[in-house]
């Protein structure tokens, strides 16, 4: 594991911000775990890490939106740990949000003006107007000052956020996943913008998944994993490091990974379907979906056959969870159709789709904290007689004995792994025909992942149709018959697991050319 701080600031007075022992604990989750970082003046520093690593929490801690459980933050020589967010902004810390939060009922120009008035309250109206205009030009929003923020599409909102933060004339700029959802040309523009800000005086911290931005803009990187700093060093070192790659891709090439049993070729487990089936269980045709202004999925065509296990892969922001949510009904498709078990379910709300046999083991588990373990299971067993219900309950307890002993406890008092078991069990209680497993390995230790995947293998052997969304590419491809890879909301690859595994494009999609 790399921890190379040799490139750190020429002299210790040259740090713009230092974070020492920073920890943030929520109920049962440690979002930031004893993080130590030092960022020099004028440096462009990147923070990467898999989903749930705690990157946004770190931004919130430095920016002031989140209060730490322990640790200190020193900014320009001053201890700002107890300072509220507004004061930090006035001292020159600017940040953008992962999902942009412009002032919706105000114009673009007014959005910028708010920041300007905070920084220079007595500024004359004419000068203010000029500065706003200049900033709009600089961030590619020229001529759009009069538009209502509410009417801006997602990408323009992101620019607005950057512009707004820049109006503070920040010495430290925190960019939280600004590159998400951008196409190549836009990423290029963004990189140009970041380069134009790189003036040797302004420090920029870039939290990103889009590796290209990180590679072209940042000199140093830190890697976060489950809230703790996993590695730190120069960009080139980090991106080439095998251990870092393993936590992203789960390639299993790490020396300390052992899987108790790893049935490589799925053909040894069950007979491959030799002729094309006459029936698909799930079929998506031209599905487009998103959240509010953002369009995440575009024209997705996709099908799943009964008894099949299909893996859904892709980098963060590619749309995997949105796809899962669209299939289960949590997100409504804006165009296209979804057919399940011969029925058109496109317009049906989620609870009706559950009745028809779709179950969704959601990302982040979503266990109900006000229900006990057993109640969390029972809530999913709807309108079935008590005999069947008890039968299913017993099966779940057999599959996951740990749940049985904790069945009277509150759902969230379990450990992360046990909660995941509970989530899986809950999705099975409705006796579904199709289960979507969304990122079940998130934030779990490899040993726990092994146990969960054993359970999934068992379920697959019994013929359960499943969709597996997974960051750990290796595990997913071991389990799946077929796999698809999403890239920026579109299907980039779709084929058998073996084909996908050996496809060179896969690594490129995840990690850019550094692969």
């Amino acid at each position: 594991m790399i921890d190379d701080t040799s490139l750190v600031g020429e002299s210790s007075g040259a740090f713009i911000v230092e974070v020492r022992g920073l920890t943030k604990r929520y109920a049962g989750v440690t979002a930031a775990d004893n993080v130590n970082l030092a960022i020099s003046r004028g440096e462009v520093f990147g923070i990467i890490g898999p989903n749930g690593a705690g990157k946004s929490t770190l931004v919130g801690l430095i920016g002031g939106a989140v209060k730490p459980s322990s640790g200190t933050i020193i900014y320009a020589g001053e201890d700002i740990t107890a300072l509220p967010a507004a004061e930090r902004a006035r001292r020159g810390i600017g940040r953008t949000y992962q999902i942009p939060r412009p002032f919706l009922d105000m114009t673009v120009a007014e959005n910028l003006a708010v920041a300007l008035y905070s920084a220079s309250p007595l500024i004359s109206a004419r000068v203010a107007g000029d500065e706003v205009k200049a900033m709009l030009m600089r961030t590619g929003l020229a001529g759009e000052g009069h538009l209502m923020a509410r009417n801006l599409p997602l990408l323009r909102r992101k620019r607005l956020e950057v512009a707004r933060a820049l109006m503070l004339k920040p010495r430290l700029l925190l960019l939280d996943e600004v590159g998400a959802g951008l196409v190549d040309a836009e990423v290029t523009e963004l990189i140009e913008l970041i380069h134009s800000l790189d003036d040797g005086e302004t420090s920029i911290v870039i939290v990103e998944h889009v590796i290209r931005i990180v590679r072209e803009c940042c000199r140093r990187l830190a890697v976060l994993h489950t809230g703790a700093k996993f590695a730190e060093g120069s960009t080139a070192e980090i991106l080439a490091d095998k251990d870092v790659a393993s936590i992203y891709l789960g390639t299993g090439h790490g020396s300390d990974r052992t899987l108790p049993h790893k049935p490589r070729a799925s053909s040894t487990q069950r007979p491959m379907v030799s002729e094309p089936p006459s029936k698909t269980l799930l079929q998506l045709a031209g599905v487009t979906a998103g959240y509010g202004q953002a369009r995440v999925l575009t024209g997705v065509d996709f099908d799943v056959r009964p008894g099949e296990a299909v893996a859904i892969l892709g980098t963060n922001g590619a749309g995997k969870t949105t796809l899962a949510n669209t299939i289960s009904g949590m997100v409504r498709a804006t165009s296209g159709s979804i057919h399940f078990d011969g029925r058109d379910v496109t317009e049906l709300p989620s609870h009706v789709r559950v009745r028809h046999g779709i179950a969704h083991c959601m990302e982040g588990r979503r266990i109900f904290p006000t229900l006990t373990v057993e109640e969390n299971l029972l809530i999913a067993a709807r309108s079935i007689d008590s005999g069947t219900r008890q039968q299913r309950l017993d099966e779940i307890y057999r599959l996951f004995p740990a749940l049985h002993s904790r069945r009277g406890n509150s759902g969230t008092s379990l450990s992360g792994g046990e909660q995941q078991m509970l989530a899986i069990g809950r999705s099975l209680m409705s006796g579904p025909k199709l289960v979507i497993f969304d990122e079940i390995s998130l934030g779990l230790a490899p040993i726990m992942m092994d146990r969960l995947y054993e359970a999934l293998f068992q379920l697959r052997r019994r013929g359960l149709t499943m969709l597996i969304i997974e960051q750990d590419v290796d595990r997913a491809l071991d389990l799946a018959d077929r796999a698809c890879v999403l890239e920026r909301g579109r299907l980039a690859l779709f084929g058998s697991a073996t084909e996908i595994r050996s496809d060179r494009n896969l690594r490129r999609l995840y990690f850019g050319e550094a692969g």
Binding site: S328, G329, M330, P349, S350, H351, V354, R355, H360, M362, R366, F368, P369, T370, L371, E375, L378, I379, A380, R382, R426, S427, S430
Partner: protein, 291 residues
């Protein structure tokens, strides 16, 4: 100086009355906890129950306490279309719009009551309403005891429903994570509708008891609305037994204020307490959430 008996009786009466008030507050608490809806029409549901009981007694001679469940059910059924057609469509506009709508509803109904039932003060006349009950040192009105017992039974019943039944599970899940609840099969819209109806039923039942014990006018609703908010905030939003304890606490405090400062201060004490708790510990003395 007041005798020990007088003080003790006053406190005991306050205790019992507080329990009755808790029933009226229960509906507000559940609706707030599950639907995040500040139902400003809660007071008129209470008064509606009282009027229904009054006219039922007048027309059929049926004792309101016996008819308590049907009265509650009737108001609940009347509340369903309100939720379905007035409030549900506003859910996507944010929390203020439904609240303002309930406000509008409250002023409409209150004034319709005046138009149709006149602004006269009414009271549901029952013999047992004035009979005192002597328990050793203290003497409390019999009807307080009856009301308290009924109230506690109702609260226990609601608690049972929420903690032991399938509907209660659905309710608790919808309160804390509605989209996840939908994803495991819960019809969240139906849960909201039934929760609102349950809230109205509790209000109406409590209102009936209040109507027997005290008098009421069309404007009484606003009064009890605030008292009930005080109880909900004290006990923790959505916390069933917390509401009971909050009510009792308020009842006792009101009694103490009444005997030390004067009758006019009873309500004031409640409000001051409410504001203080809101300012210092908004999640209530016992913490919120339907648990």
């Amino acid at each position: 100086m007041l005798s020990v008996e007088a003080i003790a009786s006053s406190v005991a009466s306050g205790f019992l009355l507080g329990g009755i008030l808790a029933l009226t507050a229960l509906g507000l608490s559940i609706v707030l906890g599950v639907m995040r809806l500040v139902n400003l029409a809660h007071g008129v549901f209470l008064v509606a129950g009282a009027y229904l009981a009054f006219f039922l007694l007048q027309a059929t001679g049926i004792d309101p306490i016996i008819a308590l469940i049907p009265i509650g059910a009737a108001i609940a059924i009347a509340a369903l279309p309100v939720q379905r057609f007035l409030l549900e469509p506003l859910a996507k506009f944010g929390p203020e719009a439904p609240m303002m709508t309930t406000f509008g509803l409250a002023i409409v109904l209150e004034n319709l009551f005046v138009l149709y039932f006149s602004a006269d003060t009414r009271s549901i006349e029952r013999d047992y309403a004035t009979v005192p009950l002597a328990l050793g040192l203290v003497s409390v009105p019999l009807v307080y005891v009856i009301g308290f017992v009924i109230s506690v039974c109702a609260i226990v019943a609601v608690h049972f429903v929420i903690s032991r039944t399938a509907f209660g599970r659905d309710l608790r899940a919808s309160a804390v994570d509605p989209s996840a609840a939908a994803a495991v099969g819960v019809d969240v819209r139906r849960v909201h509708a039934l929760t609102f109806a349950l809230g109205a039923a509790c209000a109406a039942a409590g209102g009936t008891l209040i109507g027997i014990i005290f008098s009421f006018t069309p404007a009484s609703g606003a009064n009890y609305l605030l008292t009930d908010f005080a109880i909900v905030v004290l006990g923790g939003m959505g916390n069933i037994f917390g509401t009971l304890i909050g009510g009792i606490l308020l009842g006792v405090l009101q009694s103490l204020a009444g005997i030390t400062l004067g009758d006019g201060y009873r309500d004031l004490v409640g409000l001051v307490l409410f504001l203080s708790v809101l300012a210092v510990r908004p999640q209530g003395l016992f913490g919120g959430h339907t648990a």
